[in-house]
Symmetry: C2
Subunit: 156 residues, 2 copies
């Protein structure tokens, strides 16, 4: 793992952050993502839509993947996401052979990114302060909703 912080990865992260902020402003869970082709083309972008659509299957990463439409292969693509991908989204990245995942932050929540690194995915964690603050504020104010989003609700 490296932490470039700016440059190309920073530009890509800005797209994911824009999605996350839009989700927050809609009253949703502030996690955004984009799928980027090897030449920098944005293939798809999206955000968690659990609240907005009542759909638990739409995490940031699955939204971006869906928006990219059908493709024969994901070799050379990068999934950029504001937060460490949960097991569901890590499984997506592994199954479809997405080559790289660029992560805004992994402090609020750590999913399967080490597992992905062990299976040949290039993993970049940027330790971005805005991503961390977006999630920290959300979790502080919406604990039950956050637990629901990671399958850990109803346990209090």
């Amino acid at each position: 793992m490296t932490a470039p912080g700016t440059g190309t990865f920073g530009d890509w992260l800005a797209i994911a952050v824009e999605e996350a902020r839009a989700g927050r402003d809609e009253g949703g869970i502030p996690i955004g993502a984009a799928l980027i082709d090897r030449d920098g083309t944005v293939l798809g972008r999206g955000r968690n839509r659990r609240v907005q659509d009542g759909d638990p299957s739409i995490h940031g990463e699955t939204a971006a993947f869906r928006a990219a439409g059908r493709r024969p292969s994901y070799r050379g693509t990068t999934m950029v996401t504001t937060l460490s991908p949960c097991w569901y989204c890590s499984g997506l990245i592994r199954q479809f052979g997405i080559s790289r995942v660029v992560i805004g932050e992994a402090g609020t929540f750590t999913g399967g990114h080490d597992w992905l690194a062990g299976h040949g995915v290039e993993v970049v964690v940027l330790d971005d302060p805005e991503c961390a603050e977006l999630m920290a504020a959300f979790v502080r104010d919406n604990r039950e909703l956050w637990l629901e989003d990671i399958g850990a609700g109803g346990e209090d």
Copy 2:
């Protein structure tokens, strides 16, 4: 792993097979699934919709999960599916704490079900001949589409 073959698991599998057959009849990928509550209630059911909706994010299991809507917890639920869940769908099952997965067959394709068993999910493989025949016929006649669905397309 056990192979009950009939009884409750067989009844649940019949729902997944009905979905898979419907998918085949629509020209889609014949994989179906259902999410069942601990009391046997069908919470959601669905089928792969890559072809029908042009949506690569809708596998049988994610379709069933989506159809079940928002829930605080999945404790005690069973995902029944005609085929061994791919890493994407295995990640879904692990992340959301789905307690059991009942699998029609794992011969045509083996995804992450051993990994799930290692993480506390009860795994039941039924070795159902109809599930195996549905997939075998599909893969034989639609090889590129099948490879696309598991992220292995465009390699020939």
